[in-house]
Each structure stands twice: as C-alpha cells, then as structure tokens.
C-alpha cells in the first residue's frame, strides 16, 4: 500500500484501507468506541481476505480433519501427523501468487521463505519443499500454443516462468531445504496471474511440538531475525487480497520484498536449537500482517493479553510510525515467547547464530493487545514500554477480535456457461490428428513433458533422504534413524474443475493418493491450496464451495484427513477469473523401506506389461482435446472412489519391497493421468530407453473404443505395471483379489513405442518429451 495511514484523502480512511462500512461498524461495537488510525490499520490487515479467510471459512469447515494419527489439524501454522517412532510429519501448503505476478523471482523466493517458517514454527526441521506452478501459455498460437495466444503474451509468461523457477532455486538451495517435487501446467486463464504454490514438509520428535501460544503471564515476546522495514506494508491487503490490472501492478512495485535466505537459514538453526533446549513456551512466524498477526494470535491462543513496545523493534528504515511497524511484512522474522528465566539462554543461542533477538513485548493479564511507543520517553524507559503499565497505549484492542475476523456467507451461483460447456462433448471433434502426431504432440507439451529443466536447478538431494526424487509420480524420502519413509505428491486438475469443480476436485485428491500408492505408501494426510477467482463473483463462490465438497467427499472415501491448507482468492487475468484451481498435496507413509520402490519405467526387455483398471471413452477435459483443439467441454471422467481405493491398496501391495529380496513383485509402476494410456506407456519407455511392443485392442472391455479413445482417454483409477514372467500369475491373482481388472498389453524391448494402432520411434519420443519445457522456454 502506498498511501500512508494518516493521509486524509477524500475517501474515509477505513475504505482506503479496504474495510467496508459494515466492518467499521463491527469494530466500533467491539471497542465500544471509534478506533484510532493505528487500530484501524491493524483491523484492516487482519480482516483482509488473506488473513481472515472471511469468504471461505464457512466452506472449509466442511473438510474432514480428524483421524487417530492427526496430532495437529487445521488452524495452526501447519498440520502434524504421527508417523511412528515418536516422530511427527509436519506439512503445509501456501500460495504466493500475487507477489510473483509483480516480481517473479522475489515473489517465489519469499513464498519459499514463508512456508518454511510455518513448518519451523511447529518445532520441526523443514526437510523438503515442492512447488506446484501454473502459468499462462509459454508458446504463442503460431508456435503450437493454445488458440489466441500472442507472442508478446507468451514471452511475458516465459519471463515469469524463468523468474519463478530461479527464485525458488535461489532461495530454496541457499536456505538449505531441498526442493524435491513440483508441477507445471499452462493455460490462458493464468496469463498475468501465475499460481505459485509451495508445499513444505518437516519432521520432528513429537515431544518437541511447540504451539503459537503466549499462555504465561510475565513471559516475554522476543522478535528474532531480520530488522523491520517498510517492505510489504499492506502487502497482505493490497498484494494478496485484491485483483489488479497492469497499471495498479506498477504502482505497487515499491512494496516488493526481497528474500534473504542466509538470514532465514540462521533463524532456522537458532530456532531448532531453542526448541532442542526447551527454552521457548510458544512461537509464531511473522508472515502476512507481521507483528499484528503474530502478537494477537499468540495472545489470543493463550487466552492472555500482550503489551508490545514498537520502540523496541529494530528497524532498517527511518521515520517508521507505529502502524507501519505493526503491519510490516519484512521477511525472515519469528516471534518467540520465552519465560524470564530462559531469556539469557535464548539470547545466547541467537547470538551464536548471528540472529538478532530483541525483547519487544510481554504477556500480561487480560485479553487485550496493547501497543505502546516509548520512543520519546527517557532513555531508561525507552524500548521497555512493555514493562510499565503507565505508558498510554497508542492502540489497544481485544487480541482475539483481530484474529477471529468477520465471516461471510457470500452469494453463490452456478456459472451460466457451465451447462453449455458440458454439452459440448469432444465427440464433435472426430478422431483428431493422425495418432502418431497426436502422441508426439502430447509428449512435447510443456504441461506433460519433462520438467527436468526446472528441477535440475533445485537442490533435490540435501539431507540424503531422497530415495525417489522429482520426475516421479510421487517423491519418496526416507526418515533416517527409522525404517520408515514418507512419500508425497502435489496435484491439480484445473481443466476438470472448470467443467465440474466438485468432481474435478475429488479427482485431484484421488490422483494424488494414487501417485502416493505407486510408491508403496499408505496416504495419511492432505493439505490443500484453494486458488480461485474473485469471491465477490457468485460463480467463484459456487466453484469454491463445490470444490470443497469434492475434496471432502474424496477424503472421506479414502480416509484422508485434511490437516491444513491455504486459500488464495482474487486470482484474475484480463478481467476474468482463473479456472478453479484447487491444488492438493497428499502425504503417504511407508512403514518399512529397505530398497527404492519400483521405478516408473521398465529397465529391461522381456517384461510383461499390464494395464490395471478400466478404460472408458472419456475425453472430456482431456489433454488430447485441449492440445489439439483448445477444446474444453463435455463430461469429465467418472470417479469411482471405491475403485480408487481398491487400486490404491493393490498398488501398495505390488510396490512394497520385500525386506529379504529387496525387490517387489512388479518391476515398474506408473499411473495414467494427463494424456491417457498412450502417454503413460511412452513415459515408461522413455525413462530407461526400453521400448514396447503392445496391442491395445483389448483395452476397454466395457465399451468398444475408437483408437484415439483407447490411447488418450483419461479414465481414472488406472496404472501401468510391468512384471517378470515368473511374477505374472501372482500379479493377476493380486489384481483379481482386489477386484481390479488387469489387461495384458504386451512386452518390453526394442527401440519403438509400438502400440498396435500407433508406432513411433523411441528416440524421437524421448527427444520431444525430455526437451518439452526447455524448448518452449527458449
């Protein structure tokens, strides 16, 4: 926000700050008086969409969040689930969409920094990051991109992609948390409003769990880390919670924040040592709404009051007023609540790591957050305003009223266009281009082809946990000191959600869970990032509500508790709302990992290849229709959650590694998703450069399929496996036992991807797929 809080302007201050008249009335009734300017600014940032979830809260409440293994569910900085051996896995997903649209490198970098602090705040060492990303097309229509995309637009999107990826690389690598997974998708709806979501995973001894509470009177509030500047002031309400066009984006430029991974690294190590020594009684990261949020939430959670002296806050800019200090979103800061007897130890630990720690507040009786400013007091009192009850606060409000915020039940309405879209079946498209061309095109599509260009720039091995790294259906990380491993996958299916947000969101969950199952893991928790358009549009609220129900339904069916998430609204591009883009991350647990799980592809000749699951004529919302016709219409594939569940269980049994032989029943496993069976088979060939001779005429025993349907249909609940001939009988028995159809497709070998109805060169396919993203970015 560029206007200063005290500036008059013609419009009343509360409106300038983004509060409505009704919200102002609510504040007056809470306080029993008119708020002053500082109080008003504190309410405005805390009651922004980004901090208060005012439009989404009533819907999020419908997500199932309980399971016996959930230690901390939604509502805290991150979810915590028990994984055995006294350990907990800590997970969270966040978005940094709007900052990344303005400055892709720093926007993505500070997004990484922010999510890491959320994990750290629980008491855990952050051990892995993942970045699901969405951008506008990076190829103009003339270069094979979707219809209507100009070269200028594509060039801008390429700039955003490169900036975001190098921001993630630069910050993530330097801060010392490996980035082990990610995801790309491209479509016009994200042009100018990229989605930069970040997932972070931590592991901790459960007895180190710390919460964001200030429950003991007399404890001190220590601000750790970076100095406080004007950067990001109002970033929450302006950058993250309002749609913007190009002109406004330029006006907001000065509030761009720069990440300092070195400071964050020191903060991580210092905090882990503080936890190890048990010297903090509560801790909260400073993210959106800065000190206002951290102080009010810890006090409210502890049922206490807090007194904060802004004069004690170390600043890097001159002339900052209290409202600015309380609102600043300067990065790389944490608020630790420390008992007096532990102050010395805490300071010593911070000093050793070169982390500045200043006492800025104190836990006091009552339930108010009181802000004092002792900068003009005598020297012996200056910076110690939290100790004296004489100083008159410059702001004083009930702490809980800031963090609770309003709750809206915004009007909802099904988009008028949706029925027409669903009726526009892909049947009208005919058989499309020649099958070989279609397959090559899909492999070369940057949404489908290899993302190695990106993950080569990410340190994905640090901590020596990465057993299956980026590029796989799911990432597998061993948990050192135990026999266990964690597996996770991030997924989003926006095209499907645009056609049917409820079913599409449910599919998203199913796909992530299936990915995790291919590594032999049992899904145990989910976090979601709800990226949607303008909540003031009833269509968007309908999409959000439907998507929540879809996620809830799938989670219930698959026994998956939702342990946290994030909501990002006002994502618009060219005045149009983005496709509804819920992104989920599913975490799975492997109890005994003795060897890497089977790879996605086959690495030898002579293996038998089977398709598990059933194929229907389901091209609605498919990559095939989109890639060749920029067509989005028809019904999306059906979802049989029971079939997903049975397939998941089967995959787990098949992929499990035997402790003695250190091998599993199957030689490879890969699920079918974007691009259907043909793309899945091609990817299996590409991984180790071993071809396939198959016959797909048996595919689709339920209905007779056209060749392009057999190849590119995106029916759910399917996977491709390969087995040694001596294991075929066991595979078939296991599939039969799980009630999963297994169809023999052919056997591995050679240098062709020969699928009967189509036959392409493995070398050419490899080249198309491996260079897809890098070529498009040139």
């Amino acid at each position: 926000m560029t206007e200063s809080v005290s500036s008059g302007g013609e419009r009343p201050l509360h409106l300038q700050l983004g509060l409505t008249d009704a919200e102002l009335e609510e504040i007056v009734s809470i306080l029993g008086r008119e708020p002053n300017e500082i109080e008003l600014s504190m309410y405005s940032i805390m009651w922004s969409e980004h901090c208060s979830y005012k439009s989404s809260r009533i819907h999020l409440a419908r997500l199932p969040s309980e399971a016996p293994w959930v230690v901390v569910g939604p509502g805290e900085n991150a979810g915590v689930v028990e994984i055995g051996d006294g350990l907990g896995a800590v997970l969270r997903i966040e978005s940094h969409n709007h900052p990344s649209a303005v400055e892709p490198f720093q926007g993505a970098a500070t997004g990484v920094g922010g999510i890491i602090r959320d994990i750290l705040t629980m008491g855990a060492r952050p051990i892995a990051l993942a970045d699901p990303l969405r951008f506008g097309p990076i190829q103009a229509e003339t270069a094979g991109g979707p219809q209507g995309v100009t070269e200028a637009e594509a060039a801008r999107n390429r700039y955003l992609v490169k900036g975001v990826v190098s921001g993630i690389s630069s910050y993530g690598n330097a801060v010392g948390v490996p980035t082990v997974a990610g995801e790309f998708d491209f479509a016009p709806c994200w042009s100018g409003n990229p989605l930069v979501n970040v997932f972070c995973l931590g592991v901790m001894p459960l007895d180190h769990l710390v919460l964001a509470v200030a429950a003991n009177e007399g404890d001190y509030a220590l601000l750790l880390g970076s100095t406080t500047g004007r950067d990001g002031i109002g970033g929450v309400s302006v950058l993250a919670s309002a749609g913007f066009d190009d002109a406004a984006a330029s006006a907001k430029r000065p509030s761009v924040q720069v990440g300092d991974p070195f400071e964050e690294k020191r903060v991580i190590e210092a905090c882990l040592e503080l936890f190890e020594e048990g010297v903090v009684s509560g801790i909260q990261d400073l993210g959106g709404a800065g000190l206002t949020c951290a102080t009010s939430e810890t006090a409210a959670n502890g049922g206490k009051g807090m007194r904060v002296d802004v004069a004690a806050v170390g600043r890097r800019e001159e002339g900052m007023v209290p409202a600015e200090i309380m609102a600043s979103e300067s990065q790389e800061r944490m608020l630790a609540i420390v008992a007096e007897k532990n102050l010395e130890r805490a300071s010593a630990i911070c000093k050793r790591w070169g982390v500045t720690a200043s006492i800025i507040g104190k836990v006091v009786p009552g339930d108010n957050l009181a802000v004092v400013d002792s900068s003009n007091e005598a020297e012996d009192v200056r910076g110690l305003g939290f100790e004296s009850s004489e100083l008159v606060p410059v702001a004083e409000v009930p702490a809980a009223s800031l963090s609770e915020g309003p709750k809206y039940e915004r009007p909802m309405g099904k988009p008028a266009s949706i029925e027409a879209m669903r009726q526009d079946s892909p049947d009208s498209l005919g058989a499309g281009p020649p099958l070989a061309d279609a397959l090559m095109n899909l492999l070369a599509d940057p949404s489908i082809g290899s993302a190695e260009w990106a993950w080569r720039q990410y340190d994905h091995q640090l901590f020596l946990n990465t057993v299956a790294g980026p590029g796989r259906d799911a990432t597998v990380l061993r948990v050192k000191g135990t026999k266990r491993a964690l597996s996770f996958s991030c997924d989003g299916k926006a095209r499907w959600c645009e056609l049917d947000p409820r079913l599409g969101a449910a599919h998203t969950v199913a796909e992530a869970a299936r990915n995790v199952a291919t590594t032999g893991a049992r899904p145990i928790a989910l976090v979601d990032c709800m990226n949607f358009g303008n909540p003031e549009h009833p269509e968007v609220m309908w999409q959000l509500s439907e998507a929540v129900d879809g996620i809830a339904e799938a989670c219930r069916a698959l026994d998956l508790p939702v342990v946290g998430g994030n909501v990002s609204l006002y994502n618009e591009s060219g005045g149009r709302d983005i496709w509804p883009t819920p992104i989920v991350a599913v975490l799975g647990l492997i109890d005994g990992l003795t060897a890497p799980p089977p790879p996605m592809g086959w690495n030898e000749s002579g293996l038998s290849v089977y398709l598990l699951g059933q194929t229907r004529a389901e091209l609605g919302g498919s990559a095939w229709a989109w890639r060749h016709f920029t067509h989005l219409g028809g019904e999306i594939p059906m979802l049989d959650l029971d079939a997903e569940r049975r397939l998941g269980e089967l995959l787990r049994t098949l992929a499990e590694t035997d402790a003695d032989t250190r091998s599993s029943l199957i030689s490879s496993v890969h699920d079918c998703s974007e691009g259907g069976l043909a793309v899945a088979l091609a990817e299996c060939c590409i991984e180790f450069g071993v071809g396939l001779a198959a016959d797909l005429s048996e595919v689709g025993e339920l209905e007779s399929l056209e060749p392009h349907e057999a190849l590119f249909s995106e029916s759910a609940a399917r996977a491709v496996v390969s087995v040694q001939s001596e294991n075929e009988a066991a595979l078939l028995a296991a599939a039969h036992h799980s009630g999963v159809t297994a169809t023999y497709l052919g056997s591995t070998g050679g240098n062709r991807i020969a699928l009967g109805m189509v036959d392409i060169s493995l070398d050419e396919a490899t080249d198309a797929w491996a260079g897809a993203l890098e070529r498009a970015l040139r």
């Binding site: 690598n173 991974p261 070195f262 690294k265 720039q457 091995q461 640090l462 901590f463 946990n465 061993r478």
Partner: protein, 245 residues
C-alpha cells in the same frame, strides 16, 4: 584416533553451511567419525582431519567463501594442513579453500548461468591425494552429484599450467567412458577440472558431493572410494605433529 570407531574428523560449520549433517552421516558410512565444529573454534588439534562441508557460508554473498575465510577456524585448518593431515573442501568448502589461499584458482558462475543439481561422471587423475589414495589412476566414478551455481573452476594461464604440470588436478568431469572433452563439462570449468589438491596432496577441494553418493538407496555409491580414502588418510595422519614442535 577415537577410542571407538575410526578417525575423528572435524566437519566445519559456518553460518549458512548446509551439508554438515550429510557429511557426518557419510563419514560414518566410510568408517570415520565426524564431529560438527562451529567456525568460531580455532583449535582443531584433536582432529585427525577436517572437511569443509557444502552449502552457502554467509549466504555466498559477495563471493562464495569470501567472508568465511576470515573465521577463526581457518587458523586451525591451516595448522592441520601444515601438519599433513587431510583437509578437504566439498563444493562451498572448495570455494572457501580457494578464497583462503589454501588452493590456487577461483570458482566462478557456471557457464550456463543456472544452478545445476545433477549427476556427473568423474575421472581420477591422481591417486596421491587425501581423497583418491584408494582409487586407481583413470578410474571412472559414475553419477557423483554436483550441486552448485558457482563451480566453474577458473585460473589464469600460468596457474593452470602450473597445476597441470605438478599434477594437482585430481578429478575431471568426463563421459561414461572417460572422455574429458568439453562435451562432458557441466559448468565450463577450465580443463574440465572437478577437483584439485595442493602439492602435498593433503589439502583437496572438489565441487562434486561424494557424501551424496554413499548408498545404493539414494542412487549411487561412487562417492565411497573418495571418502574412504579420506578416512584412511585421516587414520594414517593420526598423531602427526601439529605446528613446530
């Protein structure tokens, strides 16, 4: 040497270092015993050798290793080096050793100007060093991860000539069959240099991360001969005189 287990190795931690726990883990795999030593410690006399772990000491701000080289621990490292005990800098540690003048040359940004985290093949060019004594001349170590933005080894002509003549290059990037031509050079390093040593061979710097290639389950065991050589030379230098006695 420690009572239990192998030689005791100081694993140096600067603020911003991030591979220290990995190096301790890998030393354990190689039969040594790593102990974290913070950069403010200057007496390393109880250690049989030292490894400067990778990461981003002081954020790599200004230049990688530029600020780190002023830490008190550098005195201790100098003493170890002079006493002939093995001192190895991995990645960021290599950058620190060059900045501090333990090793010639400097490391610049990769020729492709992007960070690279990828497997590389290495050819052993000299076996008389703390890191390669158990290797054979010309041995190819497959799939040893590299993970850096500034790993492009640079030196002026005269320096390059001198280190080549004195056989100070211990590892070069190569293809699967040992071809060290430009085609296999991932970062533009002069003469495809991946690692060098001092004349005595006890001070070594390399960009690749042998500690990431110690176990089948994480993808490669090609780092083992390197770290096992290191542990062996630490074992042999146990008790070597420190300073002028």
């Amino acid at each position: 040497m420690s009572e239990q287990g192998g030689p005791l190795v100081a694993v140096i931690v600067f603020p911003g270092t991030n591979c220290e726990l990995d190096v301790v883990w890998a030393l354990d795999c190689a039969g040594g015993r790593g102990e974290l030593v913070f950069h403010d410690v200057s007496d390393l006399s109880r250690y049989d050798g030292a490894i400067l772990a990778g990461g981003f000491a002081h954020g790599d701000y200004l230049r990688p290793g530029a600020i780190a080289r002023f830490s008190p621990v550098m005195d201790g490292l100098r003493e170890l080096a002079q006493a002939g005990r093995p001192v190895v800098g991995i990645c960021n540690g290599f950058q620190v050793l060059c900045e501090a003048g333990f090793l010639p040359g400097a490391l610049q940004k990769n020729a492709g100007l992007t960070f690279i985290c990828a497997p590389a093949n290495l050819k052993v060019e000299r076996t008389a060093s703390a890191l390669t004594s158990l290797c054979t001349q010309g041995q190819i170590l497959e799939n040893v991860p590299i993970n850096h933005f500034e790993g492009n080894y640079t030196a002026d002509e005269a320096t390059l000539r001198s280190i080549e003549e004195r056989g100070q290059v211990i590892l070069r990037y190569c293809g699967p069959s040992g071809d060290t031509s430009e085609e296999w050079n991932p970062n533009g390093s002069a003469n495809s240099i991946a690692g060098i040593c001092n004349e005595a061979g006890n001070v070594v710097g390399l960009m690749p991360h042998p500690e990431r290639a110690m176990e089948e389950i994480t993808g490669s065991t090609s780092g083992r001969p390197l770290l096992e050589s290191f542990v062996e030379s630490a074992r042999q230098s146990h008790g070597a005189a420190l300073g002028v006695k």
